[in-house]
Symmetry: C2
Subunit: 465 residues, 2 copies
């Protein structure tokens, strides 16, 4: 969660107020903001001031603010709270967010917190699921009703049993089992009936109050299981324009729901992660990261790339004799390498994004490979001819121009092969294909680009001097 | 809109059925699928088969399927329809989607269509807004009520006047003016009252039926104007966890609503666009694009990069004498250039994404610049020292190792400067900062990296041979 510009400016005012000791006034400003905004400010001020402000706020409001931060940020902000205080805050939070926070703590603190919490029964089961699975982002389903209730009865039931409605998107209709209310914890749910349908709030409102839920419920359910990847759940919700996806076990019993507001955040985060990984920046990087964090996010990749660049140096060094004789080769060799690098990264990026969007999977390997090879051959021929022409006009040596043209075609083929092979292989081994692909593609097209060009040039060196 | 894997496979079956002439059977398969899936298949089959299937489907179903495609895809699919047929289809579509389709047609066809359409009054005003503005993606607001209605009356009113509820997310409460129903076109709306609040369906359901809307409405409205960029609207919705954002004119009269399902698509599309642009691929590229389209999406950038690579060649060529004397310089110079390129692209990518997410704007230029310069100096010193050490161990020449270390620091400074300057300057001139940034950053760090390294090496050449 990061501030839009207006908040970023308000932060400066808040900081100078805090320097003058006006903690209470700052607290009042924060309370008047949307939690999405106040959380940004709270996260960016000094720990002492954070602590003082948390003490001034009711726990529900602390919970609202924390829910807007990511896990690491939450943990930083709550550092000063005692276990008892933090348990009170966690009781006010949505179970999935509480579980995310607890998941960041050491085992002892987590156990102590769960002992203190009143809502532990709803939160503890979520800790068993990986953070980026449907189980890790779902909330307990609360709005479960029997199929033989009428629309009017359902509304009456909702009015009597629910006060806080922020997670009310659909009603879930169960067969067998007993309709439960807010306290239902996931364990309790597994003793209940099967999910047979969902009723949207709009159909509930528009229905004749006398009509039964089973007559207006949607039967064609799109569900996911708790171990589904969060990106996959996001994709289902986005593709079918849903507001929430029910998460069920293998007997169709309702375990939880994943809601559209969480999915919007997931889609944005996953895109940022891919963009940063493709640019060889660790996904934790944010603009204005403190220097040590900024460097931790970027330097490791620079060091790895320095390694691959030095390996390609040793390849060039093998041809020192040829270069000493025909120095212009040094000027031309980066052209061959760079074109291969650009083409390889184009192929790789399209594949990485298509994998992320679920447009292709590993079974499409050969189709993708043939397609990219076709593109690579055409690009190689076109750009090889172009560079050969430019070099001939520039330097007037036909053999040199043939050498660079041929090397270019060769490096475009290398680019197509590694551009497909690298991301597909990473996916095959369960690694995010955005991760390290740029480095590997560029290293390959540099090393082989230099080798092909200088190798050919050495063979024909007699015609080049 | 692109197929998930299962649909991609179903397509093969459909195509062989079509080869056997089983159009009717295919139509039945498509009707049983969700429009998000059937649209994918329809788009990918032969135009003749498309046309035959469209003729078999009721116009409402054609409309549902078209709504899942993007503008260009819609136009391809409806090519065979007459103006009268297409007008019937458009009447069944959501106004924003109908406007997108009409916006792709020539002026004469568009005018003919609007003459034929029954819903022209709701669609025509949307044609005035750019496609990527809030005005271009909004739908006519339909659920407008007076503040003195009770919750029970409001539900009764909705039941009586609305049958199709797919765009019912919130009720909009107006002051003055008359509550209107489905037929309200944007022009009509401007004669109505000011928007004073919104009521979510959940608060409507949970409210006592006797309570007035003004008592349960949300007053703290987050609105946007019709000329707001669609990304900005998406950001407001995502940040504040809304299901729809009301679009108002400068007197707070309601013009339309932008809904969460559209925003989810926008966030995904904008991320794909940025990822592709950063990798120098035109955003229209998709996996398995036909070869001519794939090449149109990629070759222009390769040609531009070939141009910049040849410019950097001419820089290297200036130092041919030095390289002929000390050929190992040719092996080392790409290291300096590549490290600058990587560092510059890291800075640039973080800035491009932060601009896209609204975390920074042009006013933050100096703060960003200082930050990136700090990171660049530290990276330059660390990696310059590292490469100097490696080169000394490898080649045993202290002067050469000092030259490459110094050049590295210099090129990291170049990287920091251009990594900030390029995206910020593009934004300043209203160009998407993802567009062309990679090319410009890499060209700068190549050209200046070669120049600094070879320039220093030429100065100290006596100590290098």
């Amino acid at each position: 969660m990061v501030a839009p510009v207006a908040v970023h400016r308000l932060l400066e005012r808040v900081q100078s107020m805090l320097h003058r000791g006006e903690t209470r006034a700052v607290t009042e400003i924060l309370r008047r903001l949307h939690p999405a905004d106040s959380s940004d400010i709270l996260y960016r001020i000094e720990p002492d001031a954070q602590h003082a402000i948390l003490q001034e706020l009711p726990w529900e409001e602390v919970a609202d603010v924390l829910e807007e931060l990511d896990e690491e940020e939450m943990v930083e902000v709550v550092q000063g709270l005692t276990v008892v205080e933090l348990a009170d805050v966690l009781d006010e939070m949505e179970p999935d967010m509480a579980a995310d926070l607890i998941g960041e703590l050491d085992d002892q603190t987590a156990a102590d917190l769960l002992d203190e919490m009143e809502t532990a029964a709803g939160v503890a089961p979520l800790l068993d699921y990986p953070e980026d699975s449907a189980g890790g982002i779902m909330n307990s389903p609360r709005h479960m009703l029997r199929r033989d209730m009428s629309a009017g009865q359902a509304m009456q039931f909702l009015r009597e049993h629910y006060d806080d409605a922020h997670d009310l998107f659909y009603l879930y209709v169960l067969e067998g089992g007993v309709p439960s209310i807010a306290e239902a914890a996931p364990e309790a749910v597994t003793e209940q009936g099967k999910l047979v349908g969902v009723v949207s709030l709009r159909s509930l409102i528009l229905a004749d109050p006398a009509v039964k839920l089973e007559a207006i419920m949607e039967l064609d359910l799109l569900t996911a299981t708790a171990d589904t990847d969060q990106e996959e759940v996001a994709r289902i919700l986005a593709r079918y324009n849903l507001l929430a996806v029910p998460i069920v076990d293998d007997e169709d019993r309702l375990l939880g729901i994943v809601t559209v507001d969480d999915v919007v955040d997931i889609i944005e985060e996953e895109a940022t992660e891919d963009i940063y990984r493709l640019a060889q920046v660790h996904e934790e990087a944010v603009i204005f990261s403190p220097l040590p964090r900024a460097i931790r996010a970027r330097m490791p990749w620079l060091v790895v790339n320095l390694g691959t660049a030095l390996v390609s140096s040793t390849v060039v060094a093998q041809f020192a004799g040829t270069i000493a004789a025909v120095a212009i080769l040094a000027a031309l060799m980066p052209v061959v390498a760079a074109q291969g690098g650009n083409a390889g990264n184009q192929s790789m990026t399209i594949i990485v994004r298509s994998l992320a969007l679920g447009q292709i999977d590993l079974k499409d390997f050969w189709a993708v490979f043939r397609h990219e090879l076709g593109v690579g051959i055409l690009h190689g021929l076109a750009l090889g001819a172009l560079v050969a022409a430019v070099v001939y006009v520039w330097l007037g040596n036909l053999i040199l121009s043939a050498v660079i043209g041929t090397a270019m075609v060769g490096n475009f083929l290398v680019a197509a092969v590694v551009g497909v092979l690298v991301p597909m292989t990473l996916r095959r081994f369960g690694v995010d294909p955005a991760y390290g692909s740029s480095m590997m593609v560029t290293a390959s097209t540099d090393i082989l680009g230099f080798a092909i060009f200088l190798g050919l040039a050495s063979y024909f060196v007699a015609w080049l001097v």
